[in-house]
């Protein structure tokens, strides 16, 4: 809430003698000093990567090699190197949810993840997620006609799987709230909702 009155750096109060500023600073310093205190090897360390590098990504149960630059997104690797074209490039900023994949089991957007940042993670795309529980999610989408052009569908399928894994007994209101990260331009929301309700009612298979 401070209106800056000068261009001089507001943090210029940092000096060698006065490096702990503000009440609670000493306690906070103790927490920082003791967090993760074991002398772990710095895994990627101070290593700075520039230009092209070959990396290994763990995708759908397989280790696969990709050639990336720091700016390469996970979505680009999946689609253009691994031919996994389920995740879609819709929004540069991830606001559509069309590039949703699971990273260590959690739904994230491949369009806003740099490929280098997921080197040690378990990546699952719609190509494998959709097969889980005997393909129950895509089957429900077919049964309830939950797609029109289908462009948003892979993102929805991954999000629905992640949502149901966490909320197997979700109510209609919870489903509506939980699946807001995915946008459907064709407006199939009512049918997606029906499909998910059916999956919840269907019990453990869903």
């Amino acid at each position: 809430m401070k209106q800056s009155t000068s261009a001089s750096p507001p943090a210029s109060g940092f000096t060698r003698r006065k490096f702990l500023q503000g009440s609670g600073a000493a306690a906070a310093a103790t927490v920082l000093a003791t967090t993760g205190g074991e002398a772990l090897a710095d895994h990627h360390g101070d290593e700075v990567i520039a230009g092209e590098t070959t990396i290994t990504l763990h995708v759908n149960g397989q280790n696969r090699q990709a050639v990336v630059e720091p700016r390469t997104t996970l979505l680009e690797v999946l689609r253009y190197q691994f031919e996994l074209t389920g995740a879609k490039p819709v929004s540069a900023d991830g606001s559509s949810g069309a590039s949703t994949v699971l990273i260590d089991g959690k739904p994230m957007m491949a369009s806003t993840l740099l490929a280098l940042s997921v080197r040690d993670k378990k990546i699952e795309t719609v190509e494998s997620v959709s097969q889980r529980n005997s393909g129950a999610v895509p089957a429900a989408f077919v049964e309830y006609d939950a797609q029109q052009c289908g462009f948003c569908t892979p993102g929805f399928v991954v999000a629905v799987r992640a949502f149901l894994d966490k909320n197997p007994n979700a109510s209609e209101a919870e489903i509506r709230a939980g699946l807001n990260g995915n946008v459907c331009r064709c407006g199939t929301y009512a049918n997606v909702l029906q499909a998910v309700i059916a999956l919840v009612k269907g019990g453990p298979r869903g």
């Binding site: 809430m1 700075v48 806003t112």
Partner: protein, 336 residues
């Protein structure tokens, strides 16, 4: 996207060593939900991007020695915060996280990234600079989503963080570290934010080689229970930003408010602590009329731009409803 060099250190010391003191030369990457889009659109063109997600010191919730506070690591994901047993009593924080309504953002966004997310101002995002030609483009152009307070200077964007109003209402403090690991400063979270006066400044006081390391939350004290709530006024349910938001904490004893802190979001270049409105609540029981009076007081000195007068009423409503919600007299909002 321009190319850049990349590093993903594991220790705070390495992280700080990788950051440059020159503005714009390096950028901190957390969940990437905001930064990667800004890089792609070339709004930011750093030479090096440093990922903070694996930094050990920035993880987890810890009790601060000597008690009294919890330290939340800036690299924690929002869903981790939401599910953490030690954080259960901080209602406003949970409501703000639930209000995001996107599984993906909740799983991918971090505490530090959310608090430092860059303004959504469309002139800034289109590459016209944070202030959009010293504020001219906003003053003369489409300012329907811009500031209704603190907008007389060149900065007219609104602070984008959805968690900051809730955390400020809860008296959170920010732990800033850098340029070296032993340079540590703790400020009330509201003081992390500033209204920049020229393009050399950003919307937080963080130096280019400083990071937000932790948020300190006062530990719940059973003798003086704090009720809190957050409320957003939105166009719709999707991943969209609120038009106005408010959060409040109330310490109520025998039905009377002993302490109150009301904070408005999405209305000014910084989160806005509404002191006068907060004072109106102290010493009284909360009821509809009192909450409405505080809501009115919270927006009394608004100075809307040419196309955003409607936001004044929305901010008033957000404040009133947040107060009623905290007092248990109303429900509603996007967190349900």
């Amino acid at each position: 996207m321009n190319n850049f060099a990349y590093a993903q250190p594991r220790r705070l010391e390495s992280l700080l060593a990788l950051l440059s003191p020159t503005p714009g030369e390096t950028e901190v990457l957390a969940g990437g939900t905001d930064l990667v889009g800004l890089l792609r659109e070339r709004v930011l063109t750093p030479e090096r991007v440093v990922n903070v997600c694996d930094v050990e010191e920035l993880q987890g919730v810890h009790e601060v020695p000597e008690g009294g506070a919890l330290a939340l690591g800036a690299a924690m994901r929002l869903d981790e915060l939401h599910e953490h047993p030690l954080l259960e009593s901080y209602t406003a924080l949970h409501q703000a996280i639930c209000g995001l309504r996107s599984l993906q953002y909740q799983a991918q966004s971090t505490l530090g990234g959310e608090l430092c997310r860059r303004p959504r101002c469309w002139y800034f995002r289109a590459g016209h600079g944070l202030l959009a030609d010293g504020g001219r483009l906003i003053r003369e152009g489409d300012n329907r989503y811009h500031a209704i307070f603190d907008n007389a200077g060149p900065a007219k964007f609104v602070s984008a963080s959805r968690l900051a109003p809730a955390l400020i209402a809860l008296d959170a403090r920010a732990v800033l570290v850098g340029p070296e690991p032993e340079y540590l400063s703790v400020v009330p979270l509201e003081e992390l934010y500033q209204t920049p006066i020229d393009e050399s400044q950003r919307e937080t006081i963080l130096q280019p080689n400083q990071v937000l390391a932790q948020i300190l939350l006062p530990q719940a004290d059973a003798s003086a229970a704090v009720a809190s709530a957050a409320y957003e006024v939105r166009h719709g349910e999707g991943p969209d930003d609120p038009l106005a938001a408010a959060a409040v904490s109330l310490q109520i004893e025998s039905g009377v408010v002993r302490q109150a802190k009301l904070v408005l979001g999405q209305v000014a270049p910084t989160p806005r602590v509404a002191d006068t409105a907060s004072r109106l609540l102290v010493g009284h029981a909360v009821d509809q009329l009192r909450a409405e009076a505080a809501g009115r007081a919270a927006v009394a000195d608004a100075t809307p731009l040419s196309r955003n007068e409607y936001k004044v009423q929305l901010a008033e409503v957000a404040a009133t409803r947040a107060i009623l919600k905290a007092a248990g007299l109303a429900t509603g909002g996007f967190d349900e």
